[in-house]
Symmetry: C2
Amino acid sequence: MYNNPLKQILHPKSLALVGAGKKPTKMGTLHALSIVKDGYPGAFYPIHPREETVFGRRAYKSVYDLPEVPDLAMLVVPVEQVLQLLDDFGKIGTKYAVIVTAGFRESGLHGQKQEDKLKEIAARYGIRFLGPNCIGFINSELPLNITVFPGTGKPGRLGMISQSGTYITQTLSYLKNKGIHFSKAISVGNEANIDIVDALEYLGQDEQTSAISLYIEGIKNGRRFIDVAQRITPYKPVLAQYVGGSGAGARAGMSHTGSMGGPEFLYEGIFKQAGVIQSFGIEDLYAQGWALATQPVLKGNRVAVITNSGGPGTAISHVCETGGLDVPRFSDELQHEIKQHVLSHASCANPVDMTFHLNDKILSRVIPEIIIKSGEVDGLILHGAMSHGFMREIYPRIKEMVGGLTLEQFLEMNAPDMSKAVELPKKYNFPLLVSSFFGREDNYTSAYRDNEIPVFDSPEKAAKAMATLFQYKKIRERKALFPAAELPARQLQVAAILDNAVRNGRRSLDEYESKQVLAAYGIPVTKEKLVLSEDEAVSAALSLGYPVVLKGCSPEIAHKTEKGLVHLSLKNESEVRQAYRAVTAVAQQIPVLVSEMVQGNRELLAGMTRFPGFGPCLMFGLGGIFAEAIRDFAFRAAPLSDTEAEEMTGDLLSARILGEYRGLPAANVAALSSIIRTLGSISLIHPEITELDINPLIISGSQPVAVDALVILSAEHD
Amino acid sequence: MYNNPLKQILHPKSLALVGAGKKPTKMGTLHALSIVKDGYPGAFYPIHPREETVFGRRAYKSVYDLPEVPDLAMLVVPVEQVLQLLDDFGKIGTKYAVIVTAGFRESGLHGQKQEDKLKEIAARYGIRFLGPNCIGFINSELPLNITVFPGTGKPGRLGMISQSGTYITQTLSYLKNKGIHFSKAISVGNEANIDIVDALEYLGQDEQTSAISLYIEGIKNGRRFIDVAQRITPYKPVLAQYVGGSGAGARAGMSHTGSMGGPEFLYEGIFKQAGVIQSFGIEDLYAQGWALATQPVLKGNRVAVITNSGGPGTAISHVCETGGLDVPRFSDELQHEIKQHVLSHASCANPVDMTFHLNDKILSRVIPEIIIKSGEVDGLILHGAMSHGFMREIYPRIKEMVGGLTLEQFLEMNAPDMSKAVELPKKYNFPLLVSSFFGREDNYTSAYRDNEIPVFDSPEKAAKAMATLFQYKKIRERKALFPAAELPARQLQVAAILDNAVRNGRRSLDEYESKQVLAAYGIPVTKEKLVLSEDEAVSAALSLGYPVVLKGCSPEIAHKTEKGLVHLSLKNESEVRQAYRAVTAVAQQIPVLVSEMVQGNRELLAGMTRFPGFGPCLMFGLGGIFAEAIRDFAFRAAPLSDTEAEEMTGDLLSARILGEYRGLPAANVAALSSIIRTLGSISLIHPEITELDINPLIISGSQPVAVDALVILSAEHD
């Protein structure tokens, strides 16, 4: 059953606030102001030791004086008062709280301890809470705005979850101006109790919310994030910005909400796995989120571009094509139809460039409707619809030409009826995005923004948003991710190898053992034998068949090739003997591994590393000696479904080498996916493995084979 | 001597305009409006067959009725009148013109012919002109705005050159709002006479212009662009956006100004070569251009971030680090000093996060000044300085709390003195960039914008602009590019090989000939011999020394390896004989090449292709069979100086393999650079070569050697 605490927290019938007074520069007072002035319809109880009223509402001396048990308690008090107050609310039976107060985990060790106590108190009374160190939330449906910024505005469709309070407060007038409206916006703060994943789950179920944007400095429960997001993204788009992946970024995040991030490439992979669209700035998070929240799903990748000017048309086309969209040349019939409405030198092929003119009805309604009806495209980007913006600029200069008209009269004269133009997306269930260099001073911009048609302030951004709609179309069409494959049975021989190594205080398995671990779970490895003498080496070579490879086998020796411990392509007995002597000359005491020589030009790598919050994460990438320099790899969190593993192989920049490539047969992608998936299973079954590496993983013919492998063990098991 | 026609065109003492009347919706009239109303101080002569006056200025019936020979003629007339009018102006002696009229080259074959005639007429009278199909220009210094949009605004420092008129007209109020002001802005249109490079050269010399932004759909004279830009960029930053590199983008550009672009990767390389910073959207072109135009040069990569909020601080830090900047932790002393001015739980380490509060003097002046004086950073990004933006939002909600104060009085009360805050960059010669979610409705945003301190509407953009300042710092510090090395002497044996091939109607040289061409100009190639019998092959192998390589040598056969025509690592006579027989079994009649076997793991490629407008362009990249999939390469236009060739080798994503890498010695970068440079020289000396390829170029030890090569010849020479 779906039972998310935020449902109660965002819809309280009564709300008690501690920390509001009469000074409007005090934070608590600002919170109260938003509650009272933004129209909260429930019962509001300010608690204040001395004031009789706060904003005209009767204030109560203490928690115990309240006339009823409030659904929600809100604390904006000095840090040293928080614990006692939460305890008080627990005692009277309040089950939900928002703790705004800062100075907990983010401020160091003492704060961390205080936060632990906070959790204890909450657990004792069964209280679920948001914060501490958060700015509150906005629920435009109720309405209820408990943040420091008033200005909820009209109910919208974009859900916002932020690890920074700023992004649901300081930006309110910015958003209002752009016509972007929140359904719900939640500041999660330190996430001591309710976390960002709870909030995501909540908005996933919220009917008012059509798209969700996330500002992330670090996710504590990464695996749950993926699970929750994967269930939401097939029907509701989710965008995320991640900023915790760099040195100062991580440091800032730590002191901001005490969050711990992970490397950029990990989050990039996790977002792909989760079906979450990655944004790289707060502007995109809002604007592209708004496009996704308001526009119908794009049905294909064909886009029409209509402008009154060549530059924006060219720039839009360029960005569309870079983003995987097609700006197809219109059919002759369609071009002919458009031509009836434009100047003779205008271009009608797509982009349509009407060139400079002031008949905006043609641009905003007539041509769009012709194009939409044609069925030749799936979406439309419009640049250049404007009227009042230009009129305002020109009026002071032509005052004398327009007789006695005032500015208002002049604008009124030039105020075309836009009601039909703004209906187009809904009428035809057809995505429309607009670009204009004019803001609300222009009646077109305002009309579009007031009717849930996004207007971007540059042509490139409109094109980028259309590419985002296309990205979401592909996410909706992902193959089924559920049910995930079950874990294979635990292999006892693997447990024995690991136990033995752990007992002996080893931190890693040698190559032979490592491959045994892989092979036990069905990963194809080189055929090979461990030998202790030259004669054994020769007979091993004979039974494996020439050519063979000889390697010194010891987990303690790194860079074996550089040290002369690897001998490839040995074709006969004498070469084997020579190689054996060479290896044992370098390292006397170690066993020698005789392996078949796997042929194949395509060297890949696959591996597993554990990241805090995400558990075992899988890596797949280009291998060979240049892997480090080229850094073409993909990450995912285990366990993986078949779909996810296969998507991962397609993630590489050089993915085309896995297809038929320069005379090589296509690699067996199902086998590759299975190897990656299995690395995840092994890691989940055997938690003492902290790292796993197959490098190289060679495509021999079309089959992947693990040619070298390394298993690293946890130090905890010493 | 510097003698650029735009100097005269942008500073005419008198100006005649044909095409202005009384209808304000007519383009010509709008042009006249801007001229008259934006304060042109020269003599303005409208020409109109019927009107007596235009905007109160006396109109003249024809060119021949003008009271003096105007410095500049401007034509906004139907296309069929343009030729005659230009001829008329030529006859009376006008030497400069701006032709706004469209319908020339961009509109097809007939238009192209008309444009040719236009050029002829201009040549006959020595007229230099801008256009056709341009929107004119703005010179804020004079002032003179001849575009369709009035609103020159105050004189600024950003020079703009655009292949779209929109970007110097439709954006004027957008720019004014952001506090961005043009020095000069030039729409170049079809560039039938004066082109974008002339305009670049002009603004490079213009004292009013501190930075130059270019909107480009295609450059006709690419080589001259590089030469001119290279002379400007060491002292004045140049930014460019290029949008002609995709299918629809190119089509749109073609029908827009008749321009022909080239591939994206070519322009990317050309911009690097020219020292031009590439922008990917018009917003960046303006905003980053404005940051470069107004802020002092960044002296190092250390940046301080000061905010009133954690999210923006974290996001700014993240983008700074991604862009190569450092956000260093402040010294304890500096942190201590800052701590005196902030709340106890605020973070002082860098980023400084004051957390939410309303004392903006601390944020905007006190802390910045402390940090600037510390010497610990080179630049500063500030987020969160605000007052009126917030006050306007809150006023309606606290009206009753502030007694009878009107909004204006309330704002006045909260209007701190910002004069010292906005002086900081100039006082300390220290770059300051600001981010705010409030626009001009906030007094901080307005004050910064009115004082040439850029305010970005998102934290990420401010950080990106700081990274751009850093990028320009590195461009200023480029090694000297001049004088370029002289071309080597023409090698007669190469001319003979080429002549012979051309005479025989061949389109390419074989591998042996191709390498002879390279070797004649000093490029190291494999030692090798061409043989016609098995015995010759054996004796060649003996004299070269084993191991050797045998290849069938014919320009007609592609994919030699796949066809069994390449035999590597032959260790003795019997292997050579076997290989010889194998090659001649596949291809009976062809000569066989016996080469030394070059050992080396690092395979690169180098080549030359000609692009229209750019001449021979050089390519350098990662080679081997995965080159196609990885696509890690760099482009430049020949000829190259040593510096440029060396920069090119550093351009690869995988450039670190050229250093000491996994036991391999550092590659000889000087030798690599010399090879690339020489490919350029060969291409310039022998224009019949249309393509040149060295693939692979193997690093043997540390020395590059051309192991296979191909010379393609022009079809024109048949």
